[in-house]
């Protein structure tokens, strides 16, 4: 049987599937070096203050306890705050674990018990006694709003809002207005795999660090800097990551503490956070957006005023692109927006799937629905009426925007055109039925990325890049890319990811990996094929047909064989035969995909986004207020789709998370102690099987050669943007009741 090359665009099943369904895939907490110690973190129960005393006699008395590491006895780590700065670019003073006696947030690690067994470490952690001096704190978001500010130095990816026209005056003159405060509760990422690190102390004094991260090279840079180690002393690996959704963008304290313990004891160490401890670090910030919209009676938007605030800690200034999305996506002559952050005594909020847009797009799209109703217009017709073909905020053309097509195809698939306009007009028994829609938008980004391609004596192609597959399908789409670019069946390709020693790749996130790593692999494979042809051409011992074919450029490499275009199939050469003819045992290239001059100019002149149109049906129990999402259709315009099977899963997965945003997810602060109190899965609800209907994802045709070398835009975030609003808008249509705060409980 001849194996055939795969192509970009085919629905190939995940190549890492076998490892995952058999339990062979190893995640961060799963290597088991001999003699490894277990670390268990002890967290501060207060939000602000200082440690007065640590009494560890009872804890040390637990059999199997080896050491209890605190700020008093820890080994040397970097003193300067600058040494703890990571690649995310959050301005401020990064948290330095176990640095000193000061407590800045509830849940802050104050000690790590290191013991021979997990049970001993956990037991000793419960017996450790710590006395605190308590200082006043504020963990109440509402109260923190009085202290909102604009950071002097902004986050590196922050896009400042840009005003146009005179929004205040236009609003005052608009005959139809809506105005309101919209709110999103804080959310926790809650990947199924809890954050964990296994540090293997190697015989040569180096450390191999298995960490749950989205960026092995970023963690390596952080550890070498914060622990004053040299680059060749630390290797970070993350071949499998049990979900992350942004929680692995920054090095979390587990990796620092595990490495600190390993450095202290010159021993292998594992730290796994508990599910409760997963609520002691990163979360999606709580947000408010004051939105005012003005329109003409015919539904023409006249003014948009957006004023948004998200929360941050006292020590860092986390920022989101919260307020810009409506200004970019809608044609409206007058618009203005303002953004600030509000500090409270918690850990620093940070990026969770579609940061900024998940909040900003959904809340804005809820306001747009209100405006459509104020104008007595169908919400889809209202959006088409105010459609912008450009980035209206920057007055810049776009590389592509097939949102109109997405709206139309999505509406047809859903059956939107039969929708009665009036709320509360559909019912089935005691359930009210509502249909809502919204649109979504997210950046289409491309970052310079390197990849290595190696042909080995057995005729296999090895691809390596320091990308991370956090469930995104990266292994599979890179294999497809290599298969098509080189001309070799997928079965003959090995993909190596998740290792800081591999060619440079940015931290996985923001939907840029498919476009970026994909382009790098494509380039490396084409370059390797040229090198193979070149090297073969120079070697004297090849057959006449090949000599002729190479010089006439009629030799092709397909399905893993070199042959002459259109020639007899018997005249072909396998890759291992070809390599042996070159006299070398391997051929290797490394290439870096960059925007180049044309790409750089394009990035300055044109904006680039993915778009979507989401349609939703809900059923609301009139007496009990229980909401069931019964249908979801998402039409996505995301350029070229590398693998419709894994891409649809990406979009569906985000729609599930957005369903949580609309209906379930809310981290509840106990303001007295400054701690998120529902820190487990029975009190912090994420959608379960029974909450999720069959979801219909369709990709509309969007040819865009300019957005990235392969025409790819990425699909990791777009499903978050718009879906929660579509659900909220459907609830209004079902009940006639407007909710401006997510998650929604009808009747509230």
């Amino acid at each position: 049987m001849t194996l055939h090359s795969a192509k970009i665009g085919q629905p190939v099943s995940r190549i890492d599937g076998l490892a995952k369904v058999t339990g062979q895939a190893r995640y961060a907490a799963e290597p088991h070096p001999a003699g490894m110690l277990y670390g268990f973190i002890v967290n501060s129960p207060i939000a602000r203050g200082r440690i007065e005393a640590i009494r560890d006699e009872a804890a040390r008395a637990v059999p199997g306890v080896v050491e209890i590491m605190t700020h008093l006895n820890r080994p040397h780590s970097a003193l300067s705050e600058k040494s703890y700065v990571d690649g995310l670019g959050v301005p401020g003073s990064p948290y330095r674990p176990l640095h000193d006696a000061e407590i800045s947030f509830n849940g802050q690690p104050v000690a790590v018990v290191l013991a021979e067994t997990f049970e001993a470490a956990r037991e000793a952690a419960m017996r450790l006694e710590v006395d605190y001096e308590r200082w006043p704190h504020n963990a109440d978001f509402e109260a923190s709003l009085h202290q909102k500010y604009m950071p002097g130095k902004t986050r590196s990816n922050y896009v400042p809002p840009k005003s146009r026209g005179n929004a205040a005056e236009a609003y005052a003159l608009s005959p139809i207005k809506i105005e309101g405060r919209y709110h999103l509760a804080p959310e926790h990422h809650n990947p199924m795999e809890m954050h964990a690190t296994t540090v293997i102390a190697e015989d040569d004094g180096t450390f191999t660090v298995w960490d749950k991260t989205q960026g092995p090279q970023a963690v390596q840079a952080y550890l070498t800097s914060a622990l004053s180690l040299s680059k060749d002393q630390v290797r970070v690996r993350n071949p499998y990551v049990g979900g992350a959704f942004g929680s692995g963008l920054r090095a979390q304290h587990n990796v620092f503490l595990a490495a600190l313990g390993a450095k202290m004891l010159k021993h292998s160490v594992r730290i796994t956070l508990t599910r409760q401890q997963m609520f002691t670090h990163v979360f999606r910030p709580e947000a408010v957006m004051d939105i005012a919209l003005g329109a003409q009676p015919d539904g023409t938007l006249q003014s948009m005023i957006v004023d948004g605030v998200t929360d941050t800690s006292r020590f860092e200034h986390n920022m989101e692109n919260l307020v810009i999305w409506g200004l970019i996506n809608y044609k409206c002559p007058n618009a203005t927006a303002d953004y600030k952050v509000a500090p409270r005594d918690t850990y620093t909020s940070s990026d969770m799937r579609a940061p900024g847009a998940a909040t900003g797009v959904n809340l804005f799209e809820m306001a747009v629905d209100e405006m459509a109703y104020a104008c007595n217009m169908d919400p889809l017709a209202f959006r088409l009426h105010n459609y912008s073909d450009i980035d209206a905020m920057h007055d810049m053309p776009l590389t592509s925007k097939a949102l109109k097509e997405a709206m139309q195809e999505g509406a047809e698939r859903f059956g939107w055109y039969n929708r009665p306009m009036a709320p509360k007009s559909m019912r089935d028994g005691k359930e009210l039925i509502g249909w809502g829609m919204a649109t979504g938008i997210w950046d289409a980004m491309f970052s310079p990325t390197s990849a290595r391609a190696t042909l080995t004596a057995d005729g296999r192609l090895h691809i390596a890049t320091a990308a991370s597959d956090i469930g995104t399908g990266t292994y599979t789409i890179l294999a497809q890319t290599a298969s098509e670019a080189f001309g070799i069946p997928i079965e003959m390709i090995d993909i190596e990811l998740g290792d800081s020693t591999l060619p440079e790749c940015p931290t996985e996130g923001g939907s840029w990996t498919a476009a970026s790593a994909g382009a790098a692999v494509w380039l490396a494979c084409q370059s390797l094929r040229e090198k193979l042809f070149r090297t073969l051409g120079k070697s004297g011992n090849i057959s006449a047909w090949l000599t002729e074919g190479l010089s006439n450029k009629t030799t092709v490499l397909q399905d893993g064989f070199l042959q002459d275009k259109g020639a007899d199939e018997n005249l072909r050469l396998s890759l291992s035969e070809a390599l042996s003819l070159t006299g070398q045992d391997r051929l290797e290239v490394e290439e870096t995909a960059k925007p180049g001059l044309r790409g750089t100019i394009s990035q300055m002149r044109k904006a680039r986004f993915t778009h979507s149109a989401v349609f939703c049906e809900v059923r609301v129990d009139e007496e009990l207020g229980i909401v069931r999402v019964t249908r979801l259709v998402n039409a996505v315009a995301a350029g070229r789709i590398m693998n419709p099977k894994t891409a649809a899963s990406q979009v569906r997965g985000a729609m599930v998370m957005a369903t949580g945003m609309a209906l379930h997810e809310e981290s509840l602060m106990d303001e007295r102690v400054g701690r998120f109190m529902n820190h487990n899965f029975s009190e912090y609800h994420i959608p379960a099987h029974a909450d999720i209907p069959d979801m219909d994802v369709l990709f509309v045709t969007e040819k865009d050669k300019e957005v990235s070398p392969l025409g790819v835009k990425g699909v990791g975030e777009i499903g978050m943007c718009g879906t929660a609003a579509a659900i909220a808008n459907a609830i209004f249509h079902a009940t006639g009741q407007r909710h401006r705060s997510l998650p929604i409980t009808p009747g509230d």
């Binding site: 369904v21 058999t22 088991h32 001993a120 037991e123 795999e193 809890m194 099987h689 029974a690 069959d694």
Partner: protein, 168 residues
């Protein structure tokens, strides 16, 4: 307070192999599998019986291994994802999960598969709604729920075809 130095006898059959050791009573079946037997296919997602990632079969029934103390089920037959199919083969449910893209990150997957295999035995697979209801103890944060239901239906359909074939 528990005394971690006390040990009690533990006898189990795990994936067909007999296992005997003296263990502190606080060791859960999950931690025994993961930390002492290197059977890391069974995952820890919450340690509180709330997520289902640690689902294994005990005497053929699906249980959450984080809620069972290893010494409390003497002579039980434990099946984990590693023991679901003989070496080099896949259980039809494992193949169906690959075919229907029923996972992304793969972390909840062994628990979903073990739960789904038990569900087939329980017979609660008549409709997609019923499958959803009886799989709701297994959370998936990647949101692969549609694919998981598809995979279970694929296996159910093949079983029905096989039965129909046998009957004919």
């Amino acid at each position: 307070m528990t005394d971690v130095s006390v040990a009690s006898p533990c006898h189990l059959r795990i994936n067909g192999q007999s296992y005997s050791a003296d263990l502190p009573p606080s060791v859960t079946l999950l931690d025994l599998l993961r930390e002492r037997l290197d059977l890391t296919g069974t995952k820890k997602g919450c340690d509180h019986g709330q997520c289902g990632a640690c689902t294994v079969l005990v005497d053929g029934k699906r249980v959450k291994s984080c809620l069972i103390l290893a010494v409390s089920i003497p002579d039980a037959e434990v099946t984990t994802i590693e023991g679901l199919a003989p070496d080099g083969h896949l259980h039809p449910m494992q193949q169906a999960f690959i075919d229907r893209d029923a996972f992304q990150c793969g972390y909840c997957t062994p628990g979903q598969i073990m739960s789904a295999v038990a569900l087939l035995e329980e017979g609660h697979v008549h409709t997609r709604e019923e499958i959803r209801e009886f799989m709701s103890g297994n959370l998936c944060r990647c949101g692969a729920y549609n694919g998981i239901v598809d995979a279970i239906e694929q296996v159910v359909a093949r079983q029905q075809q096989e039965r129909a074939g046998e009957a004919a």
